[in-house]
Symmetry: C2
Subunit: 422 residues, 2 copies
């Protein structure tokens, strides 16, 4: 790949090289603007559109909106044209469009460091899948110790459920420890109080574009037209509440209190160079679930934990898990085809999360309940703390990135700090 | 109760007496207007607000919006003031406000008969509960024949799950038979095709007002400030798809393809005279779920079925089930308190459905799977048809009403006709 250089400096190791150009939303004055991350800055799409530099792509109002939904609705041709234009405005070589560089840069850029980000789309429906064979097997062993860990439907269906869209929050939002019912094993009746098993789920979610009409479906071969990009997702979970409530209708209050996403939607176009073949599926799926393109993506993932004590003593966050998105059994195209095979409508800005991404070794599990085996094997941390589940004051950061040599496309992070129950 | 009379004629037996005054949304020209049903007419709130007759209640823009969400957000004081004003404008006695009557009525009223209705609120999150003891017991017997039909959590938790908000449709919308995976008992592997067990669920849903902030809760004692009104809900279900997919994360594609609501939101204020004590709860619920007010409502319910053959032969729809909302085990205040006890945010316009409303006798069940006991006992219909589940061309109408003598407050209907699979 020929090297492309931006006239905006991109530090070595930055997630936001010119190959990335992810979309987000940020506060500017009293307004919410759309923007694109480049190096340590944000290119303000509102300012860019106001200056007329995007007028030939689509109606200017699309880029003046506070959320990406109107842009998402326009589809892949407009996404591609916009990506090419932004790259041209930022690059320095013969393919450069010099117009932006000749204008007053102050108007067009803000520093990420001092900017407050926001959820960049209005989420209509939020679906959470269960696509990791290793995670589904581990949870089956923990939640149903007397049965077959993997239920008979799992290898035939991308199992999923609808989550709560009102509690999707942006990176950095404090997470208040939820209260609820749980039934301790030694008790005959449920008790009420703050969860004692607060957990994370390390996931990747995809954000949809135009979508389908009610009664129609999106075949796997058309999924690319409807998947705009990906974010990191932390599906915070209260395991004791979940265990007591989840039968027969699935997770509800054990999950609904908060879901954190990373601020930058990394486009499928930016991730294309990291596409790879997914795991072999056995049995071969039903026809509507078959995919022939390479839908797995080689995204390295890490979970960092810093307790209050570590923070107070100046001890850096500790990476407690490393895994990769490419091993997920069910891919995005299969998930979208499955959701819509019954005629269910998808809308621009819907969020479809992967489910916990766990690898095959204990240091690659994407949740505390797996990492500590439901608290049996606590994680020892520098400074003397140990953790079975999350405690108040703990900060968790999910990170994700694709990298080949100096060519890097990253997701930034999805972070949250636990606050005591109200 | 002193009798109040409207100068708009209300036929005997109408659901939309002056005691009701339910809110809906309808097409007028190229726009969507909010309105209130009275007799066989709709009072156009857009026209009323434009004429300045609501200006002292709140900002005019609230009533010029195409959906109720801004009005729902304003809360109970504004709801009450508006209800009093509308009643005053329509009544004939000494408490009447004569201003509307003096104006040109053509501008303010349209005929329901010729008007297309729309879903009157933008639904953020849609939750479906499982609040009937009889229904939960029946489904437990049918789906888990070898276990205890009622799971241990059911009498402690208002069990529920998140449904699909994108497929909430208005009365009259055709229902396309969904396709999907099912695993016939005699088959080792799943098969793909149109559902063979298309069903209804007779439910009542409540629509929320202002709602709570993230991390806070709505106690049962404050639920009345956040529940605006009720609609009929048909939670269409594909039982074969549901049975194969629902473990361990709950119903998904077996339910997500469509949910029909009735067009008119009947307010809690209009239903107040029909409030009654609910069933005794044993065991006594945990403190956050206790209610002291009368939260059950005496709403008579009916399910009408007309097959294509019946329609072609001029045979009227047949009532196949009659039941009542007042017997539901868990009430609305408990449901809202439960949803928010973990800090989950509710927003104006959220929809919370009751779950299937089944009585204790086989003619009072709210779904075909119960009425026909999973197809074992087909329903015989006039004209010679019989039904185990729904067939293409069948029309189902849910109806609901409260009545004491000539004092009637009704819901209209939630109707859908089955179209063949695409």
């Amino acid at each position: 790949m020929p090297q492309i250089v931006s006239w905006i400096p991109v530090p070595r190791g930055s997630d936001f090289s010119i190959y990335n150009l992810p979309y987000g939303a940020f506060r500017r004055g009293n307004a919410q603007h759309l923007g694109i991350a480049i190096g340590e800055k944000i290119l303000d799409l509102h300012a860019l559109a106001s200056a007329g530099l995007l007028d030939d792509i689509c109606d200017r109002s699309v880029f003046l909106a506070p959320v990406l939904n109107p842009f998402l609705a326009l589809g892949r041709d407009v996404w591609k044209k916009t990506r090419l234009r932004i790259a041209a405005l930022l690059r320095t070589d013969d393919a450069a469009d010099g117009r932006l560089r000749e204008l007053d840069a102050e108007r067009f850029f803000v520093e990420q460091r001092v900017t407050q980000m926001a959820v960049p789309m209005k989420v209509g429906d939020y679906v959470d899948f269960y696509a990791s064979l290793e995670h589904a097997t581990n949870l089956g062993k923990l939640f149903r110790p007397n049965g077959d860990p993997l239920l008979p439907n799992w290898r035939h269906i991308p199992i999923g459920y609808h989550g709560r869209s009102s509690t999707i929050v942006i990176d950095g939002t404090p997470i208040v420890r939820p209260k609820g019912q749980r039934k301790p094993p030694q008790s005959d009746v449920p008790v009420f109080g703050p969860t004692t098993k607060l957990d994370i789920e390390l996931e990747i979610g995809f954000v949809t574009g135009p979508g389908n009409a009610l009664g129609e479906s999106i075949p796997t071969s058309k999924a690319r037209d409807h998947i705009f990009g990906l974010v990191l997702v932390n599906d915070w979970s209260a395991r004791d509440i979940q265990a007591w409530e989840y039968q027969p209708l699935g997770p509800f209050l054990g999950k609904s209190f908060a879901t954190t996403i990373s601020p930058w939607i990394v486009t499928l176009d930016a991730l294309e160079p990291f596409a790879t073949a997914g795991p072999r599926q056995d049995p071969y799926p039903l026809e509507y679930l078959r995919t022939h393109d390479r839908w797995a993506i080689d995204i390295a993932l890490a979970v960092d934990l810093q307790t209050r004590r570590m923070r107070e003593r100046g001890i850096a966050p500790q990476t407690i898990s490393r895994t990769n998105y490419k091993e997920m059994y069910w891919n995005m195209a299969q998930q979208l085809a499955h959701v819509t095979i019954n005629g269910t409508k998808t809308r621009p800005g819907d969020l479809y999360a992967s489910g916990t991404i766990s690898g095959s070794t204990p240091d690659s599990y994407g949740s505390f309940i797996e990492l500590t085996w439901n608290g049996e094997r606590p994680i020892a941390l520098p400074g003397g703390d140990e953790r079975r589940f999350l405690e108040d004051g703990d900060t968790v950061a999910l990170r994700g990135w694709c990298e080949v040599g100096e060519f890097r496309v990253g997701f930034g992070h999805a972070t949250g700090t636990i606050q005591p129950a109200n």
